[in-house]
């Protein structure tokens, strides 16, 4: 009994850790696409941020400086995408892909040049890394059946960025649905002409969307290199930016659903790790690749049948040109 609960808590805690970067990137994509700018470059921005955060934290020994550097790097990449998509009305897929490619090359190159450790940044210790925050009474509560282990291992012991990610979802929902800025942002992703004729700048709103997207991607990247791991590894995002895009479609561009979806994907990931080498009755040993493919399969299958059509913001990916 106790072992089962411990096991469950372990998997859930692991799922949460895996869900945090997905959630941040997914919300980042949500802000960008709701404003009408398709962002396939979440992956590249996350990677760039992870490197900048890892490098800055290693040099300064301060995790928060690392976070700031990660956010700055990611916002800078976002502004490049914004300039190409909003001002130059370029193809947003091409621009996003370019950012992904630049990030892979540039992080490896700069990492090797600066630190000479094969593209890695130096390992982070102590204040250079976001440490788990122990909540009061965590150990004392451990003896309480069921709730004790949940409190000790799942709720207590999370780092600051995890709490930030969990707060970002309701905050996004609030701003999007309850504020003037949110209304305008939702409108500009659906029909920019309506926003323009209402006397509001389409350009400013879309840049705001792109900058918020960059900031959230920056936190996601910093989480990877300065909280989850102790330093930057080349290509450490490993496709998380693309899974976040899948989660965004799955969640139909809604923040509440994004939270649930990312946790589900995190859970599948955690199960994949847990099931490595485990013999299941009848099936035998499940190839780990099969489980790792689950989030993708789930997205395709569920989108094809169960959750109905996912309709993106109508103007997303379409540059706004005043008709002549």
């Amino acid at each position: 009994m106790t072992e089962t609960i411990d096991n469950a808590v372990f998997v859930l805690a692991s799922a949460l850790r895996l869900a945090v970067p997905l959630l941040l990137a997914c919300l980042a994509g949500l802000w960008s696409e709701r404003s009408g700018v398709v962002d396939i470059g979440l992956e590249g921005k996350m990677l760039g941020a992870a490197f900048a955060a890892g490098a800055a934290a290693a040099v300064t020994g301060n995790a928060w400086v690392g976070l700031a550097a990660g956010v700055a790097a990611s916002v800078a990449l976002g502004l490049v995408h914004g300039y190409a998509s909003i001002d130059q009305r370029g193809n947003q897929i091409v621009s996003g892909t370019a950012i992904n490619m630049i990030a892979v090359g540039l992080t490896a190159l700069l990492g090797a040049a600066w630190f000479g450790q094969g593209g890695r940044t130096p390992p982070l210790e102590g204040a250079a890394r976001f440490q788990p925050i122990a909540l009061p009474g965590a150990d004392a509560a451990a003896a309480i059946p069921v709730l004790g282990p949940i409190y000790r291992s799942l709720i207590s012991g999370q780092d600051a960025l995890t709490w930030l990610a969990l707060a970002a979802a309701p905050l996004t929902a609030f701003v999007l649905y309850r504020t003037r800025f949110g209304l305008r942002l939702r409108a500009v992703g659906e029909n920019p002409a309506a926003v323009d004729t209402a006397g509001i700048s389409v350009r400013a709103l879309r840049y705001a969307g792109v900058v918020i997207c960059g900031a959230l991607c920056g936190v996601a990247g910093a989480y990877l290199s300065v909280a989850q791991a102790a330093g930057f590894l080349p290509q450490m995002t490993a496709g998380k930016g693309f899974i976040a895009l899948a989660a965004l479609v799955f969640a139909k561009w809604r923040p509440g659903a994004a939270l649930a979806t990312c946790f589900l994907f995190g859970l599948l990931d955690a199960a994949a790790i847990r099931l490595q080498g485990v013999e299941l009755p009848l099936v035998g040993q499940v190839p780990v690749q099969a489980i790792q493919a689950l989030p993708y399969l789930l997205t395709v299958v569920l989108l094809a049948g169960f959750i109905g059509r996912a309709i993106p913001p109508r103007a997303s990916g379409v540059p706004y040109v005043k008709e002549r």
Partner: protein, 505 residues
């Protein structure tokens, strides 16, 4: 009292195009002022300048006697100008309330302005008969109500001057009458209304004064009571025009094309064409009237073989052609002029002679085997250009560089010059200027007199009534009535278009 709007010497160029030349205009406060002109005459550009979408290169705008610079829509709104665009500026997935509040939220949090906006909507609803459910999703509303949301948006922002760009294009005649009632109510409250339209009947019905634009210039101003549709049309075109189509009574012969129980469903399974039966005889024009989006487009696609119906049967000269392709139908003498020439009728980046051959590229006259004989293609294009007076008469020019009316002539020449037995034609004069309309109408009548069977689908009721010998009315995918053109009138057809069926009427 100072005029609500005064434009002095307003001038605007887009590159080589001189869209507005030295425009002077005076709109009296508390009046309904019509602006008419053909497509491309510069009406929309002028209104876009007034609404801050573009800035004029030269000239002065005076609002209520005071000179104003209007550099953005925000400036225009602040000056008390509201605009109802032809293509609605609405965000469809949002509610009526959200759409009305967009840009006039009344605080950083939506809750701060929501109650006041609701109250204002209710108040305006009572005052002008503009009642609407503020929580309805705009995309679910019929177009008439969507237009109401647009008007409410302007009024909530405190507009004293309301500009409406082609407001009746999407309305049934009854809805249009309702709109005009409301405009009169606004005028009675002291508001000023500018109505842009190309429908002279509406100008005559509702305006106090009317200004006419032609090729970027303001050419004439009239008191509506002291002018006529005939005089306005001549001023628009710059020469006398025949508004009435001269034609003799039809002499219908045998059935050329017949449809029985056609059903065409869209992807979600809704019957867009719902058990439609019709017959078309040699030597007659049958008009299909209806508000845009009531199944006429789908009916055209089914009859032309482009989208086969799920149920029903189509016969051409007694032969079952339900499952034939457009190419096979063309060989059997059925020509189709599609509703949207840009989408289906032409390839805009092609040269004129290439667009003039589309669909007939396999004709041996254009070359043997897989090769085209370009000289033959061009020679043929030149013959058609002459016959249809296409301007400019250059078959090497890109199709995109012709005006709407001349593009339409290219399509009509392609389809009609082969003397088809049956011609199915959708919106033959949409976006075409009055001079070309006159020409196209004469051609259609001449084809009928030569023994062709013509099915005419148009959302312009005037056009249907002027050309047709028999009229079918479609509403919600069904045929709600059939009338002989000689025995009906706009009111009766309007009721049928709105779905009031035979029994109820």
């Amino acid at each position: 009292m100072a005029p609500a709007i005064e434009l002095v010497g307003v001038d605007k160029r887009f590159g080589a195009v001189h869209a507005n030349r030295n425009i002077d205009l005076v709109v009296e406060a508390g009046s309904i002022h019509g602006i008419v002109g053909e497509n491309g005459a510069g009406k929309s550009t002028l209104m876009s300048i007034l609404y801050g979408f573009y800035e004029a290169d030269a000239g002065e705008i005076r609002i209520d006697g005071a000179s104003r610079r209007i550099r953005s829509s925000r400036d225009a709104i602040a000056a008390g100008i509201g605009m109802v665009h032809q293509h609605f500026m609405l965000v469809e997935p949002l509610s009526v309330l959200d759409n009305v509040m967009l840009g006039a939220e009344g605080g950083a949090l939506l809750a701060q302005g929501a109650a006041a906006t609701r109250a204002r909507l209710a108040e305006l609803g009572r005052a002008y008969g503009l009642a609407i459910d503020p929580d309805a999703t705009v995309g679910d509303l019929p177009v008439g109500l969507q237009q109401r949301v647009e008007i409410l948006k302007a009024l909530v922002r405190g507009a004293r001057i309301l500009i409406l760009d082609e407001p009746t294009a999407v309305l049934t005649p009854a809805e249009a009458d309702q709109l005009f009632e409301m405009l009169r109510a606004l005028r009675a409250e002291g508001k000023t209304v500018i109505l842009i339209t190309h429908k002279l009947r509406e100008i005559m019905a509702v305006t106090d004064r009317v200004s006419v634009m032609r090729r970027g210039e303001m050419v004439a101003h009239f008191d509506t009571a002291r002018t006529s549709a005939q005089e306005l049309a001549s001023a628009m075109v710059g020469r006398p025009v025949l508004l009435k189509v001269d034609k003799t009574p039809a002499a219908p012969g045998e059935i050329a094309l017949a449809a029985e129980g056609l059903v065409a469903r869209d992807r979600s399974g809704v019957a867009r064409v719902d058990h439609v039966s019709l017959s078309l005889r040699v030597g007659e024009i049958v008009g299909v009237a209806g508000v845009s989006g009531n199944g006429q487009s789908e009916l055209l696609l089914a009859l032309a073989g482009i989208a086969h119906p799920q149920e029903g049967r189509i016969t051409l000269g007694g032969r079952d052609v339900t499952r034939l392709s457009p190419a096979a139908l063309r060989k059997l003498g059925l020509a189709h002029v599609p509703e949207d020439r840009h989408h289906m009728g032409l390839v805009l980046p092609f040269e004129e002679n290439e667009s003039a051959l589309l669909g007939y590229q396999d004709d041996p006259a254009y070359g043997s085997g897989p090769l085209l004989d370009r000289d033959a293609v061009r020679a043929d294009a030149r013959v058609k250009i002459r016959a249809y007076d296409v301007q400019p008469p250059d078959c090497l020019l890109k199709t995109a560089n012709f005006s709407g009316g001349n593009q339409q002539k290219i399509v009509l020449a392609r389809e009609m010059e082969r003397d088809p037995n049956v011609l199915i034609v959708g919106q033959p004069t949409r976006g075409v200027d009055i001079g070309a309309i006159e020409f196209i109408h004469k051609r259609l009548i001449a084809m009928r007199d030569a023994g062709a069977a013509i099915l005419l689908v148009s959302v312009e009721l005037d056009e249907i009534m002027a050309l047709s010998d028999r009229i079918l009315v479609m509403c919600g995918g069904r045929i709600t009535g059939e009338r002989r053109a000689a025995d009906t009138n706009a009111q009766e057809l309007g009721l049928l278009m709105a779905g009031v069926t035979e029994k109820a009427a």
